[in-house]
């Protein structure tokens, strides 16, 4: 006999409700993954600890200075930012074993063998008046130099670019081409001139 069907629920408004929720989330959240240059700051030196390890050989260190008008001094000569990367690469590789460029040290890397690792350290100094944009541009060039060297090393030894290597291989490359960028204690660059 005529059993009454329950009337179907009107679901057309669920879409509206969902849209409302969607709009809410669109407004209150941010997309954007955080991108940036990662760095490790040196710890504050202990007062009791004597400054012994600062006797790095002169040839092993390159000082990159940025002054208040964003000009760059690498080593002892002014340099344009576009040439900075090549200069750093030359400094770190020292292809001709120049006595003024950093010495290399045979280092045994686990799982790979002995590699000549450069002892070069890049020291970055800036003035209080340096603009942040210029500072980060220089940081970027330094990282780029190291990244390119790592890429070259990876291609020469593993036949693949650095980003395509496995994690262990990346660790090996990182040890072979270390990223030694030190951000010096702040001082007034202009005061020295």
């Amino acid at each position: 006999m005529g059993k009454r069907k329950t009337p179907a629920l009107n679901t057309s408004s669920t879409a509206d409700i969902a849209f409302l929720l969607l709009c809410y989330f669109l407004m209150t959240t941010t997309m954007g993954s955080q991108l940036g240059l990662q760095r490790r700051l040196p710890p504050i030196p202990d007062k009791n600890q004597q400054v012994e390890d600062q006797k790095i050989n002169r040839r092993n260190i390159i000082v990159v200075r940025i002054n208040a008008s964003d000009r760059i001094l690498a080593g002892s000569e002014p340099i344009d930012i576009h040439f900075l990367k090549d200069k750093i690469k030359e400094f770190l590789t020292n292809p001709s074993n120049n006595a003024n460029l950093p010495e290399k040290e045979a280092k045994d890397i686990e799982g790979f063998g002995t590699v000549m690792v450069s002892k070069g350290v890049i020291s970055l100094q800036n003035d209080r008046g340096t603009s942040y944009e210029a500072y980060l541009a220089v940081q970027n060039e330094l990282v780029k130099a190291v990244n390119e060297l790592r890429d070259e090393f990876a291609r020469a030894n593993f036949g693949r670019p650095f980003s395509k290597l496995t994690e262990e291989q990346q660790d090996i490359v990182k040890k072979a081409v270390p990223q030694n960028i030190s951000e010096a204690e702040p001082k007034d660059v202009n005061a020295q001139n």
């Binding site: 969902a18 969607l22 941010t30 993954s33 990662q38 700051l41 340096t130 944009e133 980060l136 702040p186």
Partner: protein, 157 residues
Amino acid sequence: MSKFGGSNNKKEVPGITSGSLSDIVFMLLFFFMVTTQMRETENKVQVVVPEASEVVKLERKDLCSYINIGTPIKSLQSQYGTDARIQLNDSFKTKEDIRDFVASERESLNEGDRPLMTVAIRADKDVRMGIVTDVKQELRRCSALKIMYSARRPGDE
């Protein structure tokens, strides 16, 4: 009854079912809920981060705390001037407050995650390095040594 019938048994065009519309919208909703993160703080300083080609992605977003540095936004300039300022959480702070800020951020993390805490410095590209250096020194003093300079890929935005 003829097939091409009289007016009383005209077939109606079936209406389009909008039942699945809500499913589609819910799918969109879930997509946005998963991929985005809540905007915790309101920006009180204008920050246009500089460009850098070698940027890397931050692996653990939840372990990151932000320090914004820049000039106050237009509506607050009459009150705070146009000098670059530090914003922590929701208010303008001085560099002396960074210590407390880092301590409280560290407190809010799990025991095991604390060494991995990263401080992202989101500074405007026109900011002078003096203030950034002060912040860095302060971070060193409270041994928050993992930092990240926020930047964007060239060509974005």
